[in-house]
Symmetry: C2
Subunit: 245 residues, 2 copies
């Protein structure tokens, strides 16, 4: 399984993904699910993938090689598209191309066409945007009302985001909240695993501000994990028991 989350905040984007993939519980590997497309000062985009690993890799490769624009015949990549909307459309086209190539054979083997992606970024002088692309190649966009998107094993880590993340959340508070959300997921689903990949893209910087692979022994992540457990215990202890008995 996988857990990826992206926050779309006033100050910029926070993206976080785990690295565990599994084919059954006895075949576990580490694969990065965060893909960066950057030309500092000109554009920066990051894509997070969940679902079937072969499909994810096929889509990443297609986007790196480029897809031909049917109207103009020109080959487009995430490094050449003029807008984030066109970037999301391009990812959607790559998903549909993967379906065209592999969909039938997967169906014959009873394997679902399971892939979903988050794409966030900004092209200099244009709007920063964050999209979630579905297996059908269609997509939705995060807004100030709903400032985060999740793919993969999203339920365990959602309550903290629902309660705490707003569009006005500080970007490094966002990092903290995404890490708490990841920690809850790691604890509850063994097929989501360390290390985790973090990316921070500040609005209008048109380049990565922070990229970090957080390992099992990372002091800050361990502190968050321990503090959060302790804070939850203190929080429920502080609530009085009911007087119904």
């Amino acid at each position: 399984m996988t857990y990826c989350v992206a926050l779309h905040l006033r100050d910029g984007l926070v993206l976080l993904s785990d690295t565990r993939t599994n084919a059954g519980v006895d075949h576990i590997s580490t694969f990065g699910k965060m893909h960066l497309f950057e030309k500092p000062g000109e554009r920066v985009m990051a894509m997070l993938t969940a679902g079937n690993l072969a499909l994810s890799q096929a889509i990443v490769n297609m986007l790196a090689e480029g897809l031909e624009d049917e109207a103009t015949g020109k080959v487009e990549t995430l490094m050449s598209v003029p807008t984030m909307f066109r970037a999301a459309q391009l990812v959607g086209r790559a998903v549909r191309e993967a379906f065209r190539i592999d969909g039938e054979a997967l169906k014959e083997q009873g394997v679902p066409f399971d892939v979903s992606l988050l794409l966030g970024g900004q092209i200099a002088g244009r709007t920063m945007r964050l999209f979630q692309i579905y297996a059908a190649g269609n997509f939705i966009e995060a807004t100030a009302d709903t400032p985060f998107l999740q793919i993969g094993e999203h339920k365990y880590g959602k309550p903290i985001l629902d309660r705490a993340v707003t569009f006005d959340t500080d970007i490094y508070d966002g990092v903290k909240l995404a890490l708490i959300s990841m920690d809850s997921t790691l604890r509850s689903n063994l097929t989501v695993g360390m290390p985790i990949d973090l990316l921070v893209i500040r609005r209008d910087a048109a380049q990565v501000e922070l990229r970090r692979r957080i390992m099992e022994d990372d002091a800050y992540f361990r502190m968050i994990s321990d503090s959060w457990s302790e804070a939850l215990r203190a929080a429920h202890r502080a609530i009085p028991r009911p007087d119904w008995s």
Copy 2:
């Protein structure tokens, strides 16, 4: 959807269930999912149901009417079985009987045979036990290592239980934690809804200690919900931001 949770603690059992059922998002009703079988001083059992409502109701009715013991020809009910293990077996038999009657027709309509149950209780002089019965009629038992069981929409409310509930948790702290777990689920899944039903059965009492239907405007539940949100906000604010930037 449904969320039911049961805690098996040193002091006794805490059982909690929501009351929302839905056939599509535009057909929502209120149905209790908590069924009590009690003869005070002699035995007390409670069963929580999740899944297809017609199946749940059929199983509850079969258990009320009783099922014939194949070996002895005697009709058994939850009020007549001599042990909790036999009670769990009886529920399993009712599930299998429901499958025998409805399984084929459901399959023809493409409806999954989806039902799961929690059964907890004690017969005077015997051990208090808590079971989860699956759609196949087989079952598992909560132990001191894993002192809670959940059915239905279990993921949103699991992190708090994972972190806070142990076999030694006080029974009314257990009530509080189950309510926090329910609150997280209510916030994240619209098909889990108020009111909620609570039952507390103290060990060796062989009768219900507390049965309460908690309504939308219940002051204690609203206090828990508000306090918990506030505590989570305070908890993440208290954790320092990373100094990675």
